[in-house]
Structures are given as structure tokens and as C-alpha cells.
Amino acid sequence: QLSLFRFTVKRPFSTSHSSVDSKEMKKFQLLAHKWWDEEGEYAALHSMNDIRVPFIRDTLLSMNSNYHLGNPLSGIKILDVGCGGGLLSEPLGRLGASVTGIDPVEDNIRTADRHKSFDPVLAKRIQYKSSSLEEIVEESMETFDVIVASEVVEHVADLETFIKCCSQVLKPEGSLFITTINRTQLSYVLGVVFAEKIMGIVPEGTHEWEKFVPPEELESLLESNGFSVKTVNGMLYNPLLGSWSWMESTSLNYAVHAVKSGATDSPPETDTQQHSATAGTA
């Protein structure tokens, strides 16, 4: 699959600014039990771990000189938004991080909980919650060192709200990692038509091309909400080998690493204003 199915939870009485899309939720409910079949519907997501885990791991290691190679992410608190069945939470947990995984689909959380329960080490390091990002904001202000939103933002209803919430729960100078799909003609042809309808790499109807996010849009939303974008890398899936690799072009899938600015107690509005003032843009 070219995309990961994660998205934030829908609150029962949703306001117009919820980032969760109920249609999207239904799509994933049906496949909740298929997460851990490495060769099933989610095979491409499993193999995406081969590049996204090293990306996250190496970026974090390069920012922190005090680590042990046997336990590289020890002491780091990570929020995995739209964690699904826990495909990404588990490797991060194995590398030593304390992971909180949230997903609006209860079945996903149930699957994730059950899968981690067999591993005593992971059972302690990972906590799963069926929740939306907004729902945890109040109780988790500036709690996390890292937020991971892999294959999520192409499914959310309101991207700006999503990013604002990320900023609120992230500590200053914390890292945000996003992987998603670009909105290009190529991504329509390969990502939707080829992957879904022809090859069946992704279950049909998973993606709506209109919701794909171009990196320029994502970058500008991030920068205007207190983030500094550090890295943007294109990703490519090879369906014959079933493996992912990095590529120059971001016309299909891409990954972003952004860091929340260090100014701790300036409210979001002032921040944006200052940013716009210095940047000279309205």
C-alpha cells in the first residue's frame, strides 16, 4: 500500500474543526484485524518500517549525543498519531522509546493492544488509547518529545487544526515526523489507479486524491504554525520487490521532519504574527 491508514479520532459531537473524518474511519474499521499479516493488505506498511524507522531513529540520534546503541531511543517520549495496529509503535518501542499510540478506530487499538501484550517489554513501553488528537490535547500539553504522524495527514479532515494540536502536545524543540502522499498527476496514476485498482497493493477506495497533500502546502502550514521544516525526502515503493527506498523527487510519497520552535511561552497567535512579520509575508 502506498499509504498508511491512520487518522485522528472523531469525537461523537464533532465541531466543524475536528480533524477526524468519519468516512475515513469506516474504511479502516473493516480491516482492523488485518494489521499484523506481514504479507496481507498492510504489507507495504510493514516494509515501510525499513525506511521510516531508520529515518526517525537516525534523525533523533543526530540531535542527541547522549545515547546507547543498544537502546537508542531510551528516554524519549513519542506520540504515534493514527497508530493503527501499532506497526510503527512497536519498532519504536523496541528501540527504547516510551510510545503512546492513539487512533480513533477502537478495533485498531484493540488489535494493537493484543499484539503488544505478548511481549512483556513492549507491553510496558507502549500505551494505546482510542482517541482523537484533540481529545488528548488538554491533558498532554507539551508532553511529548516526538510526534510521528505516518500516513495520516492525507486522511484528516482539517490539516491546520491537526498541525496546531501537534504543536500543543509537543515540547519545545520537539520533533514532528510526517509521511504522506503528494497530490500530483503521477500520484493519481500510480497511487490511486495503479496501486488500488490495478495491482491491489492498497484496498480500493482507501485514498481520495483530493486529500493528498503537496509538500509545499504542508511546509507552509508547518512554518506558519511554529515549526521549522528541517528535511523533506521523497519515498518510492517498488511493488515487485515489496520494498521502499528514498528518492530525490517528492512527486509520490515523501517524509518530512520538522522541529517545533523553542519559544516556550508565546501563545500561537503572537507566534504566527511574529513569524509573518519577520518573514515579511501577510
Partner: protein, 425 residues
């Protein structure tokens, strides 16, 4: 991770993983049916089970700190290897250009002792269960929404249960892990047994050459242990092997000497043909022929050191399955004529440890087929050709039929003259 089988290969696997930085937080268990083997210093007499350790294997052993212990205990480096035919004058000499060590003859007990010490050094990560046998394995069901544990359950004879993400089978050519995992094994018993013994040479010598002569009944090899002692590995028919074991010491020594020295199997035809070929080579490539040296003569044999064991060939159709990997003789069994058996096992370890280390650093599930299959592909590619070649050599040299003798005579002479081919070997 659970390693089943605490022989040289199993212990080395556990030691290498235990010393791997990415395994710092992982727990490893090693199951060994026998008792703990450790020596502070070796007994005066040499053990009759020795192995030829290649430089690559030595590197692996030093990566987990065991090679230092081996060096401080006992080993013999050799610089040359002469291999020749009983039916002709053909021979091939292997020797490294820079006169470096080609390999080392080390007693198996020495390797075990060194590994035991290194396992002790990482006792916080590696737990060794001596005198423990696994009596039952429960394999994980492949369905993903099951409620039973997705890990491998190992039941020990004393009733204890272990559960693991990855079971490594290092339990020898009759591997229980392999049988329980229902992995097909292609095997073939050779009609040969190997006779081993510790021999004392007639006179002290540098003794840094390994000798092997192909007799029609099988190859006989003399591996140096010290300036005055060598180890014998004589592969021959079952009957002859029993004879060798029961005959008195003097006759035994005589048989060995005559096996190396006698030209009884030569025929004029072959000798002439060989000589012609050799002169042809020396015209084309003057340095391509070498003088055949004679191995040292044997004076006596260590009294209790004679033993025999049957030989066979085996290769598992698969080296890995979900949460299972086979290494060493459990995966492949080979004739000792090439001195490769344990080296293949050490090669397996180097490859598997490399993949597991990378998987651990990626936070992957250690039992996942993805990286296990990479290990399998790499090693099968390497091992199959070597095992097949060894098998072919064994069959080729088991005959006195003139055409085949001629073929192998010329082949050996040609190979001896061609550096590129020799280097590859």
C-alpha cells in the same frame, strides 16, 4: 532468542549475539545437553577431535573475544597445504603468497573452552542451560488474530518453559529443531567412516604443513598440532576403519606411513601421462610445477586416542522458517576432506548475526522472515556450491579407474599451475 545446541557453532552464535551492541537489552538463552566445558590449561595430551579453522572463522571468533583465549590455550598455524593423489604423481600445493597463516588446527575442546569464557563475560545477557534438553517445541500458528502466543514455546526436560521470538537450531546433523519444524533434509550416508587419532612424529620438525593424500578408499590427512604431534583424519570404508581401530599400535602406525608413502596404486600408464602433462605445463608456465614433498613419518600413536565416526552428507531444503533458523551441521553436513565443516557453520553465524543485528537496530521483530530469508539466500548460495564440490571430489577420488584417474590427475596438475583458480579455492 533461544539457541538450541551448545557445540562450537551454537556456543559461538550465542557469544557473538551476546557481544553485539544492538543486543544489549535482549535476552539470549543457550540450551546444551552436555555439561559445561572449560579448561584453565589444557591437559598434556591432545584431544583427538580437532578442526581446521580458516582465517575468516578466526576473525569471527576474535570479534567476540574468544580467539585470544584460543591463542593462549593451544593452537597450531599452518602455512602450506599439500594435496596429492595415490594413483599418480599429481599434486596441488596451497600456500599464501605472503607466507601468512593459511589456517589453524585447533582442538575442539580449546574452542569450546574459549567460547565458554566469553559466554561468562556476557552472563547478564546470555543464560546458558547446561544439561538441558528441549523435549518439545510449540510453533506459533500463522494466523494473526489468534489468542495464543505468537512466539515459539520451548519445553525443557525439567519442565521449565521458555518462550522466544527466534529459535536458532544449532543441534547438529540430526537436528531435532529441524525435524520438529518439518524441514526436509536431503541426506546421504557415505559408505565411509573417519578414523581420528593423535600421532607422534618420528622427529621434531617445523610441522606447519597440512597433508592430505587421496587414496582409493578415501583421503588420509595429517594435521599439525605441534612440532612433534599431528592429528590424523583418515576417511575410509567402514570395515577398514574398524580394522584400523582394533589393530595393535605398531601396525596402525605402519598403515599410516605406508598410506602416505607407498606408490602401490601407481600405474605406468598414468605416470607417463602425468609426466607428459607436467612437462607441457612447465613449458607453458615454468613456475606451475612444484616438487612433491613427503610428509613426516609417524612413530607412535597416543594410546586412547583412536576413534571412528560415520560420515555423511546433508543439506536442509530450507534454512529458515517463521521464527526459526538453522545453522551449522543442522543446516548442512559435509565430508571432512575439505576441512570446511565448522568453517561453514562459523560463516553461517557471521551472516545471521549481521542480519539480526541490523534488524535489532531497526526495532524489527527478530523472528520475522524478512531478514531470515536474506540470511538463507546468502548462505545457501555459498554453501551449496561448496558442499556439492566436496561431494564431487569425494566421488571422483574414490576410484582407481584409469580414465577418471587421468582426468583428475590432469585437472589437479592444471589447477596447481593456475594461480587464479587456486586462489579461489
Amino acid at each position: 532468542v533461544v539457541v538450541s545446541g551448545g557445540g562450537m557453532v551454537g556456543s559461538a552464535m550465542a557469544a557473538v549475539l551476546g557481544h553485539d551492541i544492538h543486543f544489549h537489552d535482549k535476552k539470549i538463552a543457550l540450551l546444551e545437553a552436555g555439561p559445561r566445558k572449560e579448561y584453565d590449561h589444557m591437559p598434556d595430551s591432545y584431544s583427538n577431535r580437532v578442526s581446521s579453522i580458516s582465517p575468516g572463522s578466526a576473525t569471527l571468533l576474535s570479534s567476540c573475544g574468544a580467539w585470544d583465549h584460543v591463542c593462549s590455550l593451544r593452537l597450531k598455524a599452518f602455512r602450506r597445504m599439500q594435496v596429492w593423489d595415490a594413483c599418480s604423481e599429481a599434486m596441488i600445493v596451497f600456500e599464501k603468497d605472503d607466507l601468512d597463516d593459511m589456517g589453524y588446527i585447533v582442538e575442539n575442546d580449546v574452542i569450546m573452552s574459549a567460547l565458554t569464557k566469553q559466554l561468562d563475560a556476557v552472563a547478564d545477557r546470555v543464560e546458558v542451560f547446561y544439561r538441558s534438553k528441549a523435549v518439545g517445541y510449540t510453533w506459533p500458528l500463522h494466523s494473526h488474530s489468534c489468542d495464543t502466543s505468537p512466539w515459539v514455546q520451548v519445553e525443557l526436560a525439567d519442565g521449565r518453559r521458555l518462550q522466544t521470538k527466534l529459535l536458532i537450531g544449532a543441534d547438529g546433523h540430526n537436528s531435532v529443531v529441524r525435524k520438529e519444524a518439518e524441514i526436509t533434509n536431503i541426506e546421504h550416508q557415505y559408505d565411509q567412516s573417519a578414523v581420528v587419532a593423535t600421532l607422534h612424529l618420528s622427529e621434531a620438525t617445523d610441522n606447519n604443513v597440512a597433508w592430505q593424500r587421496f587414496l582409493p578408499t578415501g583421503p588420509i590427512a595429517l594435521l599439525p598440532l605441534s612440532d612433534t604431534a599431528s592429528s590424523l583424519v583418515w576417511s575410509t570404508s567402514h570395515d577398514h576403519a574398524s580394522e584400523l581401530l582394533t589393530m595393535d599400535e605398531e601396525s596402525f602406525v605402519d598403515s599410516i606411513n605406508s598410506a602416505f608413502w607407498s606408490n602401490i596404486n601407481h600405474s605406468d600408464f598414468i605416470d607417463t601421462a602425468g609426466a607428459i602433462f607436467r612437462s607441457a605445463i612447465s613449458l607453458l608456465k615454468p613456475s606451475g610445477t612444484a616438487v612433491r614433498q613427503l610428509p613426516p613419518s609417524v612413530a607412535k600413536v597416543d594410546p586412547e586416542s583412536r576413534a571412528m565416526f560415520p560420515l555423511g552428507m546433508g543439506h536442509a531444503a530450507e534454512y529458515v522458517q517463521h521464527r526459526v533458523a538453522l545453522i551449522g551441521d543442522a543446516a548442512h553436513r559435509v565430508h571432512p576432506l575439505a576441512g570446511q565443516g565448522v568453517n561453514l557453520g562459523f560463516g553461517d553465524i557471521a551472516c545471521l548475526a549481521h542480519h539480526l543485528s541490523a534488524a535489532a537496530f531497526n526495532g524489527s521483530d527478530l523472528g520475522s522472515l524478512k531478514h531470515l530469508l536474506k540470511f538463507e539466500t546468502e548462505r545457501q548460495r555459498h554453501n551449496v556450491s561448496l558442499i556439492a564440490a566436496t561431494d564431487v571430489l569425494k566421488r571422483l577420488y574414490s576410484t582407481t579407474l584409469a580414465p577418471l584417474v587421468l582426468l583428475r590427475t590432469w585437472g589437479l596438475q592444471a589447477t596447481n599451475a593456475l594461480p587464479p583458480v587456486k586462489v579461489r579455492i
